[in-house]
Symmetry: C2
Subunit: 209 residues, 2 copies
Amino acid sequence: MSGVAAARGRIDKRQAILDAAFTVFAREGYAQAGVDVVAAEAGVAKATVYSHFHDKENLLRQAIAASADQALTENLAAVEQLTDRGDNLRVTLESVGLHLLQCYCHDRSWALRRLLSAEINQFPDLLDIVHTRTADRVTDALADRLARLAVAGHLHTPDPLLAADQFVALLSGPIDKRARLGTRRVPTAELRDVTRAAVDTFLQAFGPR
Amino acid sequence: MSGVAAARGRIDKRQAILDAAFTVFAREGYAQAGVDVVAAEAGVAKATVYSHFHDKENLLRQAIAASADQALTENLAAVEQLTDRGDNLRVTLESVGLHLLQCYCHDRSWALRRLLSAEINQFPDLLDIVHTRTADRVTDALADRLARLAVAGHLHTPDPLLAADQFVALLSGPIDKRARLGTRRVPTAELRDVTRAAVDTFLQAFGPR
DNA sequence: GTTCTACCAGACTCATGAGTCTAGTTTGTC
DNA sequence: GACAAACTAGACTCATGAGTCTGGTAGAAC
């Protein structure tokens, strides 16, 4: 049925435009970026961009939302590894921590955070678009897992949400400086070191007994 | 000597322009902000801005540098309270932590970080301008104090720089979400809660057994 | 075949803003 | 008073980019 093929073509263009828009906005900044540049990057005519997204502002929102959805999927996959399979807790935490840090350090993650910071004054609603799709739900999911571990007696924490916040903070905080806002690529060895240190501190504070 | 008075007048204008530039750039973004708006905000003619700073790009650099210097002074003042006066360590850490968090949460601090994120792609050198004036030196100073406390036997840490990084991470990490990138004013009570939690965790990990 | 829809290239309008210039005003020095 | 340096308001040039429009192509539906 050609309706499907046509729709598929349409959807492909749409996705190509969203990807290109995110790339260009992230690279040049929203105000600086030209819609014609986005169109060129997507391999599409400028009018096509407008026919799909009506105006530049809407394009920004959609591009950011799509990018945030993508980031969420990756983050949740990392958190879901954290189960009580009776393994060594430290090893499991380090594995989850490393995966989270790798998500955090993806170029697109950095770009998303930078873009959000940049445009938060002009478009305050972007913050909700992003946070309800990423940060909040990742921390919640992590807190959930930590709570189960606490119930099982492997952790000792009265407030799993706080523990989750602090775990994420211990991971990402020391990375911020090293990554230079995402302009420097942090080698895996460094990620591993930071993760190990974070888990050490975390377990000192929230480990059993 | 009137040379001083003239120079003073000049310096006052200069400072007014720098302040205004930072405010406007932070509010509207570098690309969006008009130099005439900066001039108006500073109560000065546009030509005066150009006579002092030559072009918009240079104005941005100078404004950011000045703002970073200001932030550094405040942060160092907070860290310097951390001395071994034989007081209760927990109380001292909480006081220092709270002061650091208050610096971190100042409108201008948030604005500086947002602006830096926003323009890092266009002006990579801004990162050095800011970091050599703030983050790096604050962490170093903090590590220095922690090292002294370790020598005196009040703390137990093989790597004071790591401890300092993690202390700052435990303070600022959980705040990021609550402050919504600086668009929400975090009440002091919340700052106090986060500080207390951070110091708890920190002391579990690095306190004397 | 015809028609419809998505798409294309490129020209066009119009607003905005960087940076310059001019001509006149204030302020302090001698 | 004379002079110079800093400042002022406002007009001006010129490039850039959002959004529109025009005329035309490819392909699927019928």
